[in-house]
């Protein structure tokens, strides 16, 4: 019962994230919503695995967490830096540029 209520809560939270992803207004809002949507799907998979009696689905949740991260980084690089190929700055690089 509690698990089912939890599932419902997660689905509603996912709906809210979709709203934010559609509404924007800035691309960072959208990315935030996408990333948060991903985290919620991870949790949802974990919970429904238990609810349906197949906890082995947790493997899928791990994959979601990984993919979600990589996608967010790719989007961030796209929006902020307009390149996928150049490295992200390390503190060392920036200091060299400043000096």
């Amino acid at each position: 019962m509690l698990l089912a209520a939890g599932v419902a809560g997660l689905v509603v939270a996912m709906g809210l994230m979709i709203w934010r992803a559609i509404a924007g207004p800035s691309p960072y809002d959208r990315m935030l919503a996408g990333n948060s949507f991903g985290t919620k799907t991870v949790l949802l998979i974990a919970v429904i695995g238990y609810l349906f009696g197949r906890p082995a689905f947790l493997d899928i949740a791990i994959a979601y967490a990984l993919i979600n991260f990589v996608t967010t980084i790719a989007l961030m690089k796209f929006v902020r830096y307009r390149t996928l190929a150049q490295p992200l700055c390390s503190p060392h690089d920036t200091e060299a540029k400043d000096g």
């Binding site: 349906f52 994959a63 700055c89």
Partner: protein
């Protein structure tokens, strides 16, 4: 608890489908390409959850890693290279497609009306061949994951074709976009003092874990959701993340583009080679029961790995594993080739092609 699971399954099915419709409508409606790409990723994640509810664990795995992962990255890479303006909408030009789409939709509804109702266990789709796989797999193949058994053994030829399709896509992208980073890649607009040390440290921690997880997915594919394809994509995510954080030049220095292409071809050769070995031992193509020569087969002790009843399935076990390794090699290296192609191409202007 029990009845709740069934009801929750139905409610989730409806809720997620409605969510998918909403996302699809938003994709159609939005004029921002970034939003469309991001929503496509969200769509993939949501449909993957729906797939879990529909008991399609393996498909959910694939859809998540492909739809939300690789597709998004490839779309972003392409969008960077084409530097598009906003998507224009011309309502006059949208009428004919709308009519066409409604026509197709009507035909689809007509077709669907001839299908058995959703979830019917005695529908032709579920009662005939699909059920036979469930009944026969323990004896024929001897692995728990029926989807893997069907994918790699019963319909292994399809999977060979699928591997070749991916290989062909790698060839196509390499023919179009070339192989790796150019010297004249654009410089990002970096503010003074801006840096991403958190990401660099996180990535360094994650990349080995990703590779480890990929091999877990590969070798666990017999027992649970997963297999060569999913593992291949996850394995490819490691160099992609590396390139995103540490730069493409650093990645190609570690994993050269030529090497990656070679591995892609090698994967197809491994898969087809398994088939040829089976043929050479007197079986049909991809008949894993004949993977070992009879002399070798006689040497396998019964009850190896503690499973006395299925020692006759050793050929199947090894065949599936080898085939999955072939799939992994081709898929991961093709995904990396595609990423190299898109991320490594410098933006060109008209006339300066090639």
């Amino acid at each position: 608890m029990n009845a709740i699971a069934l009801e929750a399954s139905f409610a989730l099915n409806v809720a997620l489908l409605l969510m998918l419709v909403a996302i699809a409508a938003a994709i159609a409606w939005t004029r921002s390409l970034v939003a469309a790409i991001l929503l496509m990723g969200v769509y993939s994640l949501a449909s993957a959850v729906w797939l879990v509810v529909m008991d399609a664990a393996d498909v959910a795995f694939t859809e998540a890693v492909v739809g939300a992962g690789v597709s998004t990255v490839v779309l972003l890479g392409a969008t960077l290279l084409v530097r598009p303006g906003p998507v224009r909408v011309d309502w006059r030009r949208a009428i004919a497609p709308a009519v066409l789409v409604v026509g197709v939709g009507a035909l689809l509804v007509l077709a669907v009306s001839g299908l058995a109702s959703f979830g019917d266990p005695s529908s032709p789709a579920n009662a005939h061949v699909g059920r036979s796989y469930l009944v026969e797999t323990p004896n024929d193949i001897g692995i728990p994951n029926v989807v893997t058994a069907v994918l790699a053994s019963y319909r292994g030829f399809d999977t060979l074709g699928e591997t070749v399709v991916i290989f062909a896509a790698g060839i196509g992208v390499a023919l179009m976009l070339g192989f790796g980073p150019r010297s004249s890649l654009p410089q990002p607009p970096v503010q003074p003092g801006e840096h991403h040390v958190v990401l660099r440290v996180t990535a360094r921690l994650l990349i080995p874990l990703i590779i480890l997880f990929a091999f877990y997915v590969l070798f666990h594919g017999d027992l649970g959701a997963g297999g060569g394809f999913q593992a291949g994509v996850i394995l490819a995510v490691a160099p992609i993340l590396h390139a995103l954080v540490f730069g493409l030049h650093a990645t190609t220095a570690a994993i050269p583009a030529g090497f990656v292409r070679g591995v892609a071809a090698l994967g197809v050769l491994v898969f087809a080679g398994v088939g040829v070995v089976c043929m050479a031992n007197g079986g049909g193509f991809l008949d894993y029961d004949r993977l070992f020569m009879p002399r070798v087969e006689a040497m396998i002790p019964p009850g190896l790995l503690g499973d006395p009843t299925h020692s006759h399935n050793w050929g199947q076990h090894f065949g599936i594993l080898l085939v999955e390794v072939g799939v992994l090699l081709t898929v991961s290296s093709t995904m990396v080739t595609i990423f190299y192609g898109f991320a490594g191409r410098a933006t060109h202007d008209v006339g300066s092609a090639r």
